[in-house]
């Protein structure tokens, strides 16, 4: 098999010719014996990958862009699968005693819906897909630090996803103990059959995939930044991916370890999370017995940082999109960075707020830290509004999705603050109030902000635009459907409807809220059908994008769309967190943080390129 190894030399990423100046490009230097290409196009695909073609190219590629796109396509396909499952769930709940699904099928569907959305879509779409593609471009790197490890991450993710879906084909059906797999419900006695085992192994595979990606992200950002790209000049998206990478390294090993222990409990006779078979002394298990609460501690030590692993990348996307379509630098750059760090640090100390009603956790400690997260999150909201304030707002599709995120996440955040208070949590725990809360948080981030990023970077990835009118239809239908789906769930939750039930009494007045919620879910489905149509149109009738269709700020918009192999044939001087903007607007008055106007003007005069 091919074993092409390129050694990229930065003499081939020299600064570009100044606008209007015809400057000869330097010769590319590639050491002998490498498989590197030639710099034979002044602004094009200078380094062509002379490796395999077709499906073999996909199987063997170690290019972060190919891997990033593979992650994104796989995760979006899984998102559609999980969405279809949600529609079945909603149909079942539209009437009180629906016979559409059996109780067992219903349990399988909500388990797999949650598992696909959280483990296989939201996270991998962000840190495997968008970050894989965008982070090396934003810091001026030729690739991720460990390209082969990056490829391995994808194959583990893909096989883990296939393993998860295999659950539907095995005897006894897929896992049906919820995405949190609480012990002892997930024990072999309570959940027999291999569906649960398949679920565990799927998460072991994807867990390792996430850990490898986390290592790769951190190493890439620490070691492969272009000259002048200091840590405090990195785009906020890259900052957030760095912090997300560290959070992955904190959280995922705990989950993987817990899953191995759960498997041992199910098959090898250990009793780590169960008390079955233990000897009791005076009615209490002696010290050798397991503890179901230990599973909750381990799971949520992963699970709550996971919520922020799913949120921080999307905060980063919003922080990239809002300044571009407000025609301003981001407001409060350093505040954003420190808020990201604070959110990540605090998120690792609040895991047991999911366990308030167990009666076995330290309520004031976890409540206080949970409430404290509202402060850095509030700073972020303040800065996002500050970025838009006084800007020349352009309501393109990505911008609309970001505004949709702000509203959705605000509502989800406010109800999160309510749930951080133990008395409120005791009253609403395991009701639809909680379901509505976390869907508003996660749909706000992974869907609204995630697809903002998709619409925003799609021109860079494919060199063609998506139709803006269809994009706006997608947004508005999603927006209406989203609020119609989840606002009634808050009310029905406060009226006492528990989550994870396939039928409910007819005389409690819950049906109307469930009907509204189902209508909203189908409006969301229509919106995503429009997105598919938009992609099809883009494929059939491409609208060329150019290198920088949004007049964006960060480094990825300096290279071609799509970028060449190893990303750059040359780089601009990096004197702020907006190098592409600085290069394209040498006379602009607005300067980013930390650069006084005179110094910026001086740098522009002194450093252009030739």
């Amino acid at each position: 098999m091919t074993d092409v190894t390129d050694v990229t030399d930065v003499t081939d990423v020299l600064a570009p010719p100044a606008p209007g100046h015809d400057v000869e490009l330097p010769q590319t230097h590639l050491p002998a014996g490498t498989g590197g290409g030639h710099l034979d196009e002044p602004h094009g695909h200078g380094h062509e990958d002379h490796g395999p073609t077709g499906i073999l190219k996909w199987l063997t590629s170690t290019d972060h862009k190919v891997i990033g796109l593979s992650y994104m396509i796989t995760s979006i396909v899984l998102f559609y699968f999980a969405g279809i499952m949600a529609l079945f769930i909603r149909l079942q709940l539209t009437t009180p005693h629906s016979s559409l699904l059996t109780f067992g099928q219903y349990n399988e569907l909500f388990t797999m819906h949650g598992s696909l959305m959280l483990y296989l879509f939201a996270g991998p779409f962000a840190f495997g897909g968008l970050a894989n593609y965008v982070v090396p471009l934003q810091i001026g790197a030729p690739d991720m630090a460990f390209p082969r490890l990056n490829a391995l991450s994808y194959w583990l993710y893909l096989t883990g996803s296939i393993t998860m879906l295999l659950g539907f084909l095995v005897a006894g059906g897929a896992a049906s103990f919820g995405w949190v797999a609480y012990a002892p419900l997930s024990s072999a006695a309570s959940s027999p059959g291999i569906g649960g085992d398949v679920w565990i192994m799927a998460l072991v595979l994807t867990g390792f995939s996430a850990i490898f990606t986390g290592v790769n992200l951190v190493a890439t950002i620490f070691y492969l930044r272009a000259p002048g790209m200091t840590m405090f000049r990195m785009p906020i998206f890259t900052w957030n991916m760095l912090v997300t990478g560290i959070l992955i390294l904190i959280a995922f090993p705990v989950l993987t370890g817990a899953l191995v222990m759960l498997f041992c409990d199910r098959h090898f006779g250990t009793h780590i999370f169960t008390v079955t078979g233990c000897h009791l002394v005076n009615g209490a298990p002696y010290s050798g017995c397991g503890s179901p609460l230990l599973w909750q501690n381990l799971f949520w030590f992963f699970g709550h940082p996971e919520v922020y692993i799913l949120a921080l990348p999307f905060f980063g996307i919003v922080t990239e999109v809002l300044p571009v379509f407000s025609r301003k630098p981001v407001f409060g750059y350093k505040g954003m960075v420190f808020a990201t760090m604070a959110i990540a640090a605090l998120s690792t100390g609040v895991w047991a707020h999911h366990m308030f009603t167990t009666g076995a956790v330290l309520l004031p400690f976890f409540s206080f830290l949970s409430l404290l997260i509202a402060v850095p999150t509030g700073i972020k909201f303040f800065n996002w509004i500050g970025t838009m304030w006084g800007g020349q707002l352009v309501f393109t599709t990505p911008m609309l999705f970001c505004i949709g995120f702000l509203l959705a996440f605000l509502m989800g955040g406010v109800t999160g603050i309510m749930l951080a208070s133990p008395p409120i949590d005791f009253a609403t725990h395991d009701t639809y109030f909680v379901v509505a809360h976390f869907h508003q948080v996660l749909v706000g981030t992974a869907v609204f902000a995630g697809f903002a990023g998709f619409y925003y970077w799609y021109p860079k990835m494919f060199g063609r635009m998506l139709n803006d009118t269809l994009g706006k239809w997608h947004f508005w239908l999603l927006f209406v459907g989203f609020w119609l789906t989840f606002m009634p769930q808050y009310i029905v939750g406060l009226k006492g409807m528990p989550r994870r039930v396939a039928s409910y009494p007819t005389d409690l007045g819950w049906q109307i809220y469930n009907e509204l919620s189902t209508i909203g879910a189908f409006i969301i489905a229509v919106s995503f059908a429009i997105m598919l149509w938009n992609l099809w149109q883009s494929w059939r009738k491409p609208i060329p994008a150019g290198n920088n269709p949004w007049d964006a700020h960060t480094l990825e918009w300096f290279t071609t769309s799509p970028p060449p192999h190893h990303n750059y044939t040359h780089l601009p001087p990096i004197r702020s967190e907006r190098p592409t903007w600085d290069y394209n607007h040498p006379d602009a008055l607005a300067v980013p943080h930390g650069v006084v106007a005179e110094a910026a003007a001086h740098a522009r005069k002194k450093e252009p390129v030739a």
């Binding site: 098999m1 091919t2 074993d3 190894t5 390129d6 050694v7 990229t8 030399d9 930065v10 003499t11 990423v13 600064a15 014996g33 490498t34 590197g36 490796g51 395999p52 063997t60 590629s61 170690t62 290019d63 030729p142 690739d143 630090a145 390209p147 082969r148 391995l152 194959w155 583990l156 096989t159 291999i194 398949v198 192994m201 595979l205 620490f222 930044r225 272009a226 000259p227 002048g228 790209m229 200091t230 840590m231 000049r233 904190i250 098959h267 230990l294 501690n297 381990l298 030590f301 640090a345 100390g349 895991w351 047991a352 330290l362 400690f365 192999h565 040359h570 780089l571 001087p573 004197r575």
Partner: protein, 130 residues
């Protein structure tokens, strides 16, 4: 490397303090163990990066006034393509699901893993730039 080191050291300090408070307040073992582990996750690489920073000083990517040309030279080796991650991934897949679908799957699984490890090592040596 200074900012990177401080970032990780801060992680260690923060979780050290939180871990201490949590232990003395709750006496709960599992959470304390995980907080201490997180504290070490910050201190170990953070100390290493700080040591490297003291040895190397400021790199071109750490300096605000660095020009692109100053970074000239070899950055890293980047394999253009390689089949071995795919082989390794399939080996890991078979090995893991052998615990569910039949232990015999571990044979092809381990074979693929060993083949891939030998292959990727040989590939790296042939490339000569790793």
């Amino acid at each position: 490397m200074r900012v990177e080191a401080i970032l990780l050291l801060f992680l260690g300090v923060f979780f050290g303090i939180v871990g201490l408070v949590y232990w003395f307040w709750s006496s709960e073992q599992a959470g304390t163990a995980m907080l201490v582990g997180t504290c070490l996750l910050g201190f170990l690489p953070g100390s290493y990066y700080f040591w490297w920073h003291r040895r190397m000083g400021y790199r071109v990517e750490d300096r605000e006034d660095a020009s692109i040309e100053e970074g000239a030279g070899e950055i890293n080796s980047f394999p253009g393509s390689s089949i071995w991650p795919f082989i390794l991934g399939m080996g890991a897949f078979l090995t893991v699901i052998s615990l569910v679908f039949g232990i015999w799957l571990i044979l092809p699984g381990i074979t693929l893993i060993v083949t891939a490890l030998v292959g990727v090592t040989a590939e790296s040596r042939r490339g000569g730039h790793v």
